[in-house]
Subunit: 365 residues, 2 copies
């Protein structure tokens, strides 16, 4: 087996653990920064090493287009290409291509390249093959991601096809040093979520992802759908909520037994000047920070970002200096990493409910 998880502590449904691979150990819950095109925007691999995330995401769709999976394979795989010895996870390409209005048949999804407009044909088997060429430690099956809201029959079709594609993906997977995760769909329908989870587990994967949530639905719709899925997932496999990166989402997902998350949000916000802080989101372009000599977040002591004043960062933002995005990116990733560390400590101490409430108090308005 390429990957296993050892659960160390539980507090309600929340849990801490260690995900163990041939490459090393990942403490969970864990937030995974997104390195779309083999780099986390504004950072290099040395930055990641100092920042310390145990795992980073790469995007299969973007990398298969530029520079191409064959090239990355010839260069020794994605780890060697980025010179990154930590863990990597590649998505399947599903999420990106379903934003490109694909023509989906039973065989595959056909869509226009965002790079040159040419037709791209991605089947479950091709996604497996590309991800094996990229060589990440964890690969995802290709799923069908309908938008929310969608008609029930669209959701049912997506769910059923995702299951058939999951079987094909499992059959196509050959790398024993690469874990493969299945993806639960089903929109915000609780029965469909449970059904999708059960049948994905029946196929059998190294871990299970929750797809198709945090795509615009209310939190009151998201949480029951998530809970309906996790209730059906085995406790001895990792659970991964795809595309989740806001503090409220993180505590709610962990409260429901999720171990892994990723999202472009903290890095994208950073490049636009918004910092995650213990006071909530701060738009550092705001005039009120022009002479604020305090750090980004007085409640979070991070030596690389908090050495700079809000006044300095605001100046860099309003003059479009690329250094601004870099400083806030480092801050936001460190801040989210700290939040996951706080969650692990609270679960171990049996105080997760208090931590969750304190996050909701700041972030839910």
């Amino acid at each position: 087996m390429a990957l296993r998880i050892e659960i160390d502590h539980t507090d309600g449904a929340a849990r801490t653990g260690r995900m163990i691979t041939d490459r090393g150990v990942i403490e969970t819950p864990v937030f995974m920064p997104v390195g779309t095109r083999a780099a986390v925007k504004t950072l290099d691999t040395s930055d990641l090493e100092r920042l310390g995330p145990p795992i980073v995401l790469g995007n299969t769709y973007h990398l298969m287009e530029r520079p191409g999976a064959d090239l990355i394979e010839r260069m020794g795989g994605l780890h060697t290409f980025m010179d990154w010895s930590g863990h990597l996870l590649t998505d399947s390409g599903g999420y990106q291509i379903f934003s490109l209005e694909p023509k989906v048949s039973e065989e595959s999804a056909v869509f226009k390249s965002v790079y040159d407009g040419s037709a791209v044909d991605l089947s479950p088997e091709r996604s497996v093959q590309v991800q094996e060429q990229l060589g990440a430690d964890i690969a995802m099956v290709l799923d069908v991601c309908p938008p929310l809201p969608s008609a029930r029959e669209v959701q049912v079709d997506a769910l059923e096809r995702t299951l058939r594609w999951a079987e094909r993906s499992k059959a196509a997977h050959t790398r024993e040093d690469q874990a493969q995760f299945g993806i639960v769909q089903g929109g915000i329908d609780l029965e469909m979520r449970a059904d999708s989870a059960q049948r994905t587990v029946d196929i059998g994967f190294d871990g299970y992802a929750i797809g198709g949530l945090s795509v615009g639905e209310d939190r009151t719709e998201m949480i029951p759908a998530l809970a309906a899925a996790t209730a059906e997932l085995p406790t001895d496999k990792p659970r991964y909520f795809m595309g989740l990166g806001d503090p409220v989402g993180l505590v709610e997902a962990v409260a429901n037994g999720v171990d892994m998350f990723d999202c472009v949000l903290p890095t994208r916000l950073a490049r636009h000047g918004t910092a995650l802080t213990s006071e909530g989101r701060l738009n550092l372009r705001n005039l009120k920070f022009a002479e604020d000599d305090g750090p980004i977040d007085p409640g979070f002591d991070h030596p690389w970002s908090n050495r700079f004043s809000r006044a300095y960062i605001r100046h860099l933002l309003v003059t479009n200096e690329p250094t601004a995005g870099r400083i806030i990116t480092l801050h936001n990733l460190a801040w989210l990493s700290d939040l996951t560390a706080q969650m692990r400590a609270a679960i171990e101490a049996g105080t997760f409910a208090e931590l969750r409430q304190s996050v909701l108090d700041v972030w839910v308005r």
Copy 2:
């Protein structure tokens, strides 16, 4: 005195030394990276600390406009604003404003702001005042920078006015912890260069800069004009060639007794994908690097940039990932720093002529 230089070795006119201030010691010859708006583009202060330049430039014109000298002064000065404990030098604003077609009177230069089109009025005294508010270790006098080529009478007027403004700048200067450098003008006319140098020395400054060269003239015009100036400068004061950052320019300037240089070239080239290497300039966007798994410069072992392959950096460049500019910026600055270290070692060993020739062999085509 805020600054002195101790000359340690000479080899012909080339020299090594230590520039000593209250803040510390700068080994010369030294290349100074440019942090136009209080940041070297794509880098933060922690990067500078790891990279190790002993001194960085700030641009008086840009900083007086955004965020403003009053604000930086209230924030504790430019060192505190950037959280940079190394040395800083601020230019006078002259070079920038003379690219903005100013109306120059005996009193001052009036020109349109690049930020909002408003009229900006910069006099020698105002430049001194702004630079004292910024609080760099070294300040420059406001000079008149005519374009090359210019009519002789334009050059003469610029030279004479620069001298009168230098006297006013010296009279206006009050900070004892800040060195002030004069600037030699005179275009490519050898007599005018010598005259400007002598009379600037007569006014008396902590150091002397060569302005108005490396602005498009041939190397065969630049070097004699430079030599005509340095011949008149005292050996016990630092000499600074403003706006010089190409390898040929550096070895030629050092061969003529220059101690300090700055230029945006190495960082600007980096952001456009061009690396300085022992093989010359490399445009890393070139298709021929698409599968090149070698480092940027096999002849230069730098641990932060050379860990990445040309193939990886090319991929980041062609997909417009900001990480590319950062990696090449780190490389180019480290590479130029290494070139100055090589020059210092060669001068000490008495082999500077050989080093100069080896640089010309690669870079002059």
